[in-house]
Amino acid sequence: MTTRNRTNDLGLTRADYKGGKSTLCPGCGHDSISNHIISVAHEMSLPMHKVIKMSGIGCSSKTPAYFLGGSHAFNAIHGRMPSVVTGATLANHSLTAIAVSGDGDTGSIGLGQYKHLMRRNVPMVYIIENNGVYGLTKGQFSATADEGQVLKYYGRNDLPPIDLALEAVIGGCTFVGRGFSGDSKQVQALLKAAISHHGTAVLDIISPCVTFNNRPDSTKSYVYGKDNQILLHEIDFTPQGFVPAREEITVDSYESGEVIEVEMHDGSFIRLKKLSRDHDPRSRSEAVRLLEEAEREQLFLTGLIYYEEPRPTLGETLEIHSTPLAQLTEAHLRPSRETLDDVMKRFM
């Protein structure tokens, strides 16, 4: 049986995790990311009723309609999805929020909410489908477009880009990854780890817009991505409950320091095997340096850029009840008649 037809722990096939038919341009990078999400959810046996799919506005933000049809979804307003997720996860902390945004949705109109979201450590996966343009409004430059880039209709972009991964690292996000929609292996490994993360996990995924920004000289194009992607490391994700093949690592004589293993909050493991470069994602200063170098030298570095022992989530900080707030009943929601009498006495 191929992976695709195999049923998972919940007895579901990969096809069960699909959504509606995509209405994006054929070949759009965003569709590949939807497919990665479908594969990962299937492999991880995610119960779909426990997942909420959240998005802002844009071609990218439409995609939750195209995966995980068994999950509730909320297509919010432009740039403001983070606040909606904040409220939804406070209402029910037992839900897994998978959110999709675009570089316009996040990097311009939504930059404020993006930063405040990670400051609060709202538990969610935040996927930026980054194509350097506003797809849905027909190809204007976004704030992640390269300085000096030229587009047929809008001409030359004279402003420097905002690096959304760097913003996340600086903003206190505890999990930051960068990927390329065309690299299913790495994106899927990053997605699995992000879903297991306790807190905000940002994935900045370069996702070519075939209609408005796919010329080979664009750093957001397929050709550029395929030719220039530099993998920081090979990522191996071992889900919770499985013992990572630790012995293998040592026996196989990897030099110490070449494999970094991180145990995540839920007991799953990420194992990073060094490839081209030395990068320890557990160091914030290294992460910042790496991203600055990548921008300066125009290097398309992908992988887990930053990881930190998670801080308490917003709900934990606010010490909310272990029963999801949305499921509390009258006994918890309405103080007694006697309590009101007591309160009233204080105002007499």
Partner: protein, 612 residues
């Protein structure tokens, strides 16, 4: 009072005047006078005298003038009064005007140290040696400035007959029962009282005397009442961004949060989040409402502007949440610390077009509490945002009230299929479930919430562009059908919102219509109008959309006046919009002078119009 455009000096009779006058304290913002003023008003309240307090404060932390007016009324009238008989002129910057505004026969208390001189000879003067008394009091020097205001409390106690033991009780209340600060302030009050007794000769007719009219009553601000109501209504998520005059509403939620802490686990059943702006605040409550929680925010006009897009989304996506708008005047650089009812039209139509929002309009602190809890039931019953329009006067001033009634209906989650069993039950009955299909023909459809474990539970939420199966659709017919259902839902809402309160005598040709915090001024004006031979009926509107009774009232009178505190006569406009019949007999009577309405203005205006 310098900014009271309505006051006109008028003669005060010579005989003793008991429990029926107003006293105004003029100080500088941030001088700590609020404590003294609250002690004064609480003392009167404890003496059994009906009181109301109006704080007129600047948008400033320290230094600008502030006026606190206390009205005592043996007849129980609690509206702002146009005239103030007694001025405690403790702010040198405004004293000239404060004194000039006093009626003939009025009273001025002023610090002796200023050597002001007596600029009028038709009022009574009391000069009080504030500096000297404070130096005598054994008060640590860094407390002196703040405590100086206790001097006028002591002098007032002597001059206007306020018992010292009751003042001490009021002080204790003010300091939450802490004896040390209460004692320190009380010492100054006693010193001033003693000095006044030995040095001042009573030369004015004003007195307070104990009554028994506040027994069992409470004194509370509307915002705190609203906070309590929300907590008794089961709020789970309160997200906000600070803005006067709504800030103290969420402060109230925070300070009473213990009411909703689970005693067994010590955990909170309410999450309060200070958002990065109002856009985020409403986004959070929409997310929470969508996921099945009871969620609220509180803001004022500028915040409402920022919330417009989300409010439109929530209207079309049909998501329950509660938005308190404690209204004030104008933009941020307008008159943010003055009251107004100017957000009415904006709130009603908030969105991107073709939306009409539900607006509840409390007219008292008791209704702030009631609508506090009821708003959540209404929001879930109609599956839509519910706005609650309070205002600065109602929200931030102290009001006398009967203790609040415990909610008389259990929590109503509306047509929510909150778990597998409920969804299965629905499927058994109807054979299918689609999010926006109108099974009951009242426009309100059934919703599931995320987390319901059932293959059919999930649906895709988007503002527009959906058919009744919540599937993306750009078909014109689907849109029209959706709008028709929303209109049906709107008509259902007319029956579910708080109905108007109507005081009606048949054959009375004059009908007054008003809403919100104008109520006490109208009650008082009607008494005075009746005494002068003009009988009026009265309807207080308590919500939008209008109930049928609203229209009946308008059409059932020969002459109707719509009295409101904004410049454009916004309720008047809405009524004309909503009522298809000829409504030329209905006149607008807007004020919008940034101050709480007075009975005097209503009386004068109606008298003029009715005798024309």
């Amino acid at each position: 009072m310098a900014i009271d455009v309505q006051s006109s000096p008028q003669a005060v009779p010579e005989a003793d005047l008991v429990n029926d006058f107003a006293l105004m304290v003029a100080t500088k913002n941030g001088s700590g006078s609020q404590t003294s003023n609250l002690v004064l008003i609480r003392t009167l309240f404890k003496m059994g005298i009906p009181v109301s307090g109006k704080n007129l404060f600047p948008s400033n932390i320290k230094g600008l003038p502030t006026w606190y007016t206390i009205r005592a009324s043996k007849d129980g009238y609690i509206a702002r009064r146009a005239t103030t008989e007694i001025a405690i002129a403790f702010n040198q910057d405004t004293a000239a005007q404060d004194i000039a505004d006093l009626p003939v026969g009025g009273v001025c208390m002023i610090p002796q140290d200023w050597q002001w001189g007596r600029s009028r000879d038709d009022i009574t003067w009391y000069e009080v040696p504030v500096k000297e008394l404070i130096t005598q009091a054994e008060v640590p020097s860094d407390f002196r400035d703040r405590i100086a205001n206790m001097v006028y409390v002591g002098a007032c106690a002597h001059l206007f007959d306020m018992p010292l033991d009751i003042i001490y009780e009021a002080l204790l209340d003010q300091f939450n029962g802490k004896e040390k600060p209460a004692k320190m302030n009380y010492d100054v009050i006693m010193l001033a009282h003693e000095w006044a007794a030995n040095n001042l000769t009573k030369a004015d007719p004003y007195h307070f005397a104990p009554l028994n009219l506040t027994e069992g009553k409470i004194l509370i601000e509307g915002n705190e009442a609203a906070a309590l109501g929300s907590l008794f209504g089961g709020v789970n998520v309160a997200a906000w961004y600070p803005i006067t005059p709504s800030t103290s509403l969420i402060d109230g939620v925070i300070s009473h949060l213990n009411l909703r802490r689970d005693p067994e686990t010590g955990k909170n059943t309410v999450a309060v989040v200070q958002a990065e702006d109002e856009l985020a605040a409403i986004g959070m409550i929409i997310g929470a409402g969508w996921a099945g929680a009871r969620a609220m925010t509180a803001t004022s006009g500028p915040g409402i502007s920022l919330m417009a897009e989300f409010a439109g989304l929530a209207y079309f996506a049909e998501i329950p949440c509660v938005i308190w708008d404690v209204t004030r005047v104008g933009p941020s650089t307008g008159l943010p610390t003055r009251t107004s009812q100017g957000d009415l039209l904006f709130m009603y139509f908030l969105g991107h077009g073709d939306s009409r929002q539900i607006v509840m309009i409390p007219g008292s602190v008791a209704e702030c509490f009631e609508f506090g809890w009821r708003s959540f039931d209404l929001a879930e019953a109609v599956q839509t945002p519910v706005f609650v329009m309070s205002d600065l006067d109602l929200g931030m001033n102290l009001w006398m009230s009967d203790p609040f009634d415990y909610p008389d209906t259990p929590i109503n989650r509306g047509k929510t299929l909150a778990d597998r069993g409920q969804l299965e039950g629905f499927l058994e009955e109807f054979g299918e479930w689609y999010r926006y299909r109108d099974y009951d023909k009242d426009g309100v459809t059934y919703r599931t919430i995320p987390g319901v474990e059932h293959r059919q539970a999930a649906y895709f939420t988007r503002g527009t562009g959906h058919n009744d199966m919540a599937v993306y659709s750009e078909r014109a017919e689907d849109w029209v059908q959706n709008m028709e259902r929303l209109h049906r839902k709107f008509d259902t809402a007319r029956t579910l919102v708080p109905q108007p309160i109507i005081d009606h005598t048949p054959d009375n040709p004059v009908g007054l219509i008003s809403y919100g915090s104008n109520d006490p001024a109208i009650a008082e004006a009607r008494d005075r109008l009746a005494a002068s031979g003009i009988q009026t009926n009265y309807m207080r509107i308590r919500a939008l959309p209008f109930a049928q009774a609203v229209k009946d009232f308008v059409m059932g009178h020969e002459r109707v006046y719509v009295i409101e505190n904004n410049s454009d006569g916004q309720m008047h406009q809405l009524l004309r919009l909503d009522i298809a019949e000829d409504t030329t007999h209905m006149a607008a009577m807007p004020l919008g002078d940034t101050l709480p309405m007075t009975a005097q203005w209503i009386f004068d205006e109606i008298t003029a119009r009715e005798t024309n």
